[in-house]
């Protein structure tokens, strides 16, 4: 996913496909008769964009009035390019802008900005994801704050008839020390923000930072602790209807007939019954009435294909697709090649081979998806939609409703968790249903999916498979590694026109670009598309690939009679950044010991892993025991190097959170397909990490000064391999297929 920072993103059109399964007709999905998508409307400077007239002239992240609204009462509102979904970006941005603007971060209100070219700050692209937010916008937002401060000073100088150099600032005020005069930013803003920005403003010396690098309290914590934070699901419009849906049991099938439509239309509170592409819906005066009614509908659905992998066929199963990935013998392009692998294997003292796989995963964000749509009297369509790419959703909504993009007003509420859930994934987003129902009923409509419908429609982390082979020399040192990855990643599915290359980085990241000094490497990627809707899921390809690779590296160590920690130290001896992280995580945990050893009346052991996700580096150690056949994780230590940071408290929270999600996937999670349908319908059938299984998490931030990396996702990938390696140290049992819950483990 790091690839999105490459310069290619700027010139890429179209960007994200709205419908990733090519054999599903978008026309039939939308029911609006729209033709195939061209999503050129996303990038600034392109003629299709809503604000076409001046978009070409806009340099993202530079126009101060697009970002800052300073009231006469000196309140500061920051319009953020990013959506807040728990990662703390609103607070981080307030720190960055506030540092240079000279306003305390606690005085900021931060809102997600509407669609517009000013906010395309990730290399010309706007999204909240890929752990890009802080690292992509840090220099821009500093400069923006400094530019705004300069505007305040220049305006004050004019007003006070003094030289700008004689003025300083102090938390939202311009101060003239000589006369003791003080003007608030609020008094100056209207005039100041209309000035032509000074191109060469001086940034604050980092040695004098007051807010950046401080554990500034999150801006949203009190509202979120008192029920006052407003999510998409909480919003309401005058005259609004509530809508509930029932989706086809098999993805891609459609409504053939409804036996009891008239009876359901007569149920209490029901306004109307609707047939949608792949779903039925009921609009009613409350959501509960709508839900009861829609679930009472007796629908005959079209039949899925009997078999095959082109669609989610009647016999589609996780087991079947995994077997197909394993059995595939096609050759694929090289994802990484170095040295002479064949020669290394020919000279090997020992060869190790293993197959690793990981299941489909649901996002399981606690807020079920909803969307609200209203056609306004002035001809605009107004939407409230959980999303990670406002311009893309605006563009698709425009095409779906036959309106020009500038007539589509898109609000992006805070997200009740996302983890990759709210990108555009074809029929996995409810907003097009809201548009269609608002159009049909001529009323504002809020569509909310029940948790069961969300489990049916969520786009999933792809089930994944890789085959590993390593050559060892007589000292147990790996001389070659060969990996064959068969499957599909979300970048190839959704961003294929941006990155049309033969290798999908999101399928192989975590297997390629590992830091170890293994001289001969050959990584092959064979694309086999899944018929199911696949997604970005926190840490994307790293979520399974670092488990594969780091688990296999422990197998190499064991086969070569080496300690896994010592072997990693040896393979990283020329990599000071990684060496330091390994030493740090060992020290945090009281010194490396693999075990097994006695602790609190039982046997425990530890596993170690490294990962290099999203421009950051991690070293992780997990401590486990086995209780009643179940893996219990007692401690997780993470040494985390994102280069440099903005808020150490938020960084630690994010690593804790990533550890929890990584552990949840390691221990419990799998969304199983059988007979063409998903087997989990709610959290009772899809267990996620609960308090009972939460370990103590110890995080130490190492700021190496390397270019700023991501924060939200990188804490995750090291967790599955550290845990699985610990289980192997304790039991001798090597787990190569997640989750652990499906394995029988004995000490």
């Amino acid at each position: 996913m790091n690839q999105l920072l490459s310069s290619k993103a700027l010139s890429a059109v179209p960007l994200m496909r709205a419908e990733g399964v090519t054999n599903l007709s978008r026309r039939s999905f939308l029911g609006f008769g729209t033709s195939a998508l061209v999503l050129g409307a996303l990038l600034p400077g392109l003629p299709r964009i809503a604000q076409a007239a001046d978009a070409a002239a806009v340099k993202p992240g530079t126009r101060v009035p697009a970002f800052l609204v300073i009231g006469k009462d000196n309140t500061v509102t920051l319009l953020s390019p990013f959506v807040e979904g728990g990662q703390g970006i609103s607070t981080g941005l307030a720190q960055i802008v506030g540092e240079e603007l000279d306003v305390h971060p606690s005085r900021f209100t931060v809102e997600c900005a509407p669609p517009g070219p000013d906010y395309a700050v990730i290399n010309g692209l706007r999204m909240t994801g890929g752990s890009f937010s802080t690292r992509s916008s840090y220099p821009l937002m500093r400069k923006l704050g400094a530019t705004a401060r300069d505007m305040m000073i220049r305006t004050a100088a004019k007003r006070l008839k003094v030289k700008p150099e004689s003025l300083t600032t102090e938390d939202g005020h311009v101060v003239h020390a000589a006369s003791g005069k003080k003007l608030t930013y609020g008094e100056l803003a209207a005039e100041a923000l209309a000035l032509t920005p000074n191109d060469s403003v001086t940034l604050r010396d980092p040695a004098t930072f007051r807010y950046i690098k401080q554990p500034v309290a999150r801006l949203d914590v009190r509202a979120k602790s008192t029920g006052k934070a407003v999510y998409a699901i909480d919003q309401k419009l005058d005259g609004m209807l509530y809508a509930a849906v029932q989706h086809a049991p098999n993805l891609g099938t459609t409504v053939e007939s409804v036996a009891n439509e008239a009876a359901v239309a007569g149920m209490p509170g029901v306004h109307s019954v609707h047939r949608l592409p792949g779903a039925v819906a009921v609009a009613a005066d409350s959501w509960w009435r709508a839900r009861k009614a829609v679930e009472a509908l007796q629908v005959t659905w079209s039949k899925p294909a009997a078999t095959g992998f082109d669609t989610v066929a009647a016999d589609y199963s996780s087991q079947g697709i995994l077997a197909a990935l394993k059995a595939n013998t096609a050759s694929g392009p090289s994802a990484e090649a170095e040295g002479d692998v064949a020669a290394a294997f020919a000279n090997a003292a020992k060869v190790v081979e293993a197959e690793y796989d990981a299941p489909y995963l649901a996002h399981g964000q606690l807020e079920p998806p909803s969307s609200m749509a209203r056609f306004n009297a002035d001809g605009t369509l107004e939407l409230w939609v959980p999303n990670q790419m406002p311009e893309l959703f605006q563009s698709v909504a425009a095409q779906a409703s036959g309106l020009p993009p500038e007539k589509v007003i898109l609000h992006t509420p805070i997200l009740g968790g996302f983890f990759g859930r709210h990108f555009l994934y074809g029929s996995s987003n409810p907003f097009l249903q809201a548009i269609q129902l608002a159009k049909a009923t001529k009323r504002p409509v809020k569509v909310l999916w029940s948790r069961e419908e969300e489990f049916r429609m969520d786009a999933v982390r792809p089930l994944s498979f890789s085959r590993f082979k390593a050559a060892l020399d007589k000292d147990g040192r790996p001389t070659a590694i060969q990996v064959r990855t068969v499957g599909e990643g979300p970048i190839g599915r959704w961003f294929d026109s941006v990155f049309p290359g033969p290798v999908d980085s999101s399928a192989v990241e975590g297997i390629t670009e590992k830091p170890y000094a293994i001289p001969n490497r050959s990584m092959e990627f064979v694309k086999v598309p899944h018929p199911v809707t696949i997604a970005f899921w926190r840490s994307v390809g790293h979520s399974m690939n670092d488990f594969f690779y780091e688990g296999f590296l422990d197998e190499i160590a064991v086969a070569g009679g080496r300690d896994p920690f010592e072997l990693r130290m040896e393979l990283l001896k020329d990599k000071p950044r990684h060496t330091k992280l390994l030493q740090t995580v060992a020290a945090m945990s009281g010194g490396w010991k693999r075990g097994p050893y006695e602790a609190e009346g039982g046997k425990r052991a530890r596993g170690v892993s490294m990962a290099s996700p999203f421009g950051s580096e991690t070293a992780t150690i997990a401590e486990v025991s086995i209780e009643g056949g179940e893996t219990r994780v007692h401690n997780v230590w993470v040494a985390f190097d994102p280069g440099s940071i903005v808020n150490p408290a938020i960084v630690k929270s994010q690593v804790e959170s990533a550890v929890a999600l990584g552990l949840s996937a390691t221990l419990f999670e799998e969304l199983v397909y059988k007979d063409g349908v998903r087997q989990s319908h709610n959290f009772d059938e899809y267990p996620i990490l609960s308090r009972r299984s939460m370990p103590a998490v110890h995080v130490e931030i190492v700021e190496s000064g390397a270019p700023m990396g991501g924060v939200g996702e990188p804490g995750l990938p090291g967790v599955p391999p550290a845990v699985v390696n610990a289980v192997a140290a304790l039991t001798g049992q090597r787990i190569r297929s997640l989750p652990l819950a499906k394995a029988k483990i004995d000490v």
Binding site: K224, E367, E656
Partner: protein
């Protein structure tokens, strides 16, 4: 018509008798601080206090609550224990996405009202609400802090 008592006020609501309390709170009364997460009492996002007991309102038919005193997160500031819990939540910086936190705060408040000095075991037994952001350790330390 069903009569219910929520946050010290009495409401007459015209809904079917089996309507879950959650949806009466959210859609009929507009008290959206209480969240819908799963609808099957698994996640605890919809936790309210009914006569002081933490209860998952998605599985409570509105006609079953009778004259009970229902308290929701929307009125947490009116409860002295609730205020302490909120202050501990803020001091500990518990929430991330925040969606489960209404339920977590209500469950913690109910726990501390009945058991002002809970042990770690008591906290583990009482606090079974799910959090997808994994704020469990901070939830526990905030409760210890609120307990003083």
């Amino acid at each position: 018509m069903t009569t219910i008592h929520v946050n010290g006020r009495t409401y007459e609501v015209a809904v079917e008798a089996d309507t879950p309390l959650l949806w009466v709170l959210r859609d009929t009364l507009g008290l959206t601080g209480t969240k819908y997460g799963c609808g099957i009492a698994q996640c605890g996002a919809c936790t309210v206090m009914i006569d002081g007991t933490a209860t998952r309102s998605c599985q409570v038919p509105v006609d079953s609550v009778g004259t009970a005193d229902i308290r929701t997160i929307d009125a947490i500031d009116e409860d002295p224990v609730g205020r302490k819990v909120v202050e501990a939540w803020v001091a500990t910086q518990v929430p991330q996405c925040g969606y489960c936190q209404s339920g977590q705060v209500m469950a913690a408040t109910a726990l501390l009202k009945s058991n002002p000095k809970p042990t770690d075991g008591d906290i583990a037994d009482a606090m079974t609400n799910l959090c997808r952001c994994g704020t469990y350790n901070r939830v526990a330390s905030a409760i210890r802090q609120a307990a003083g």
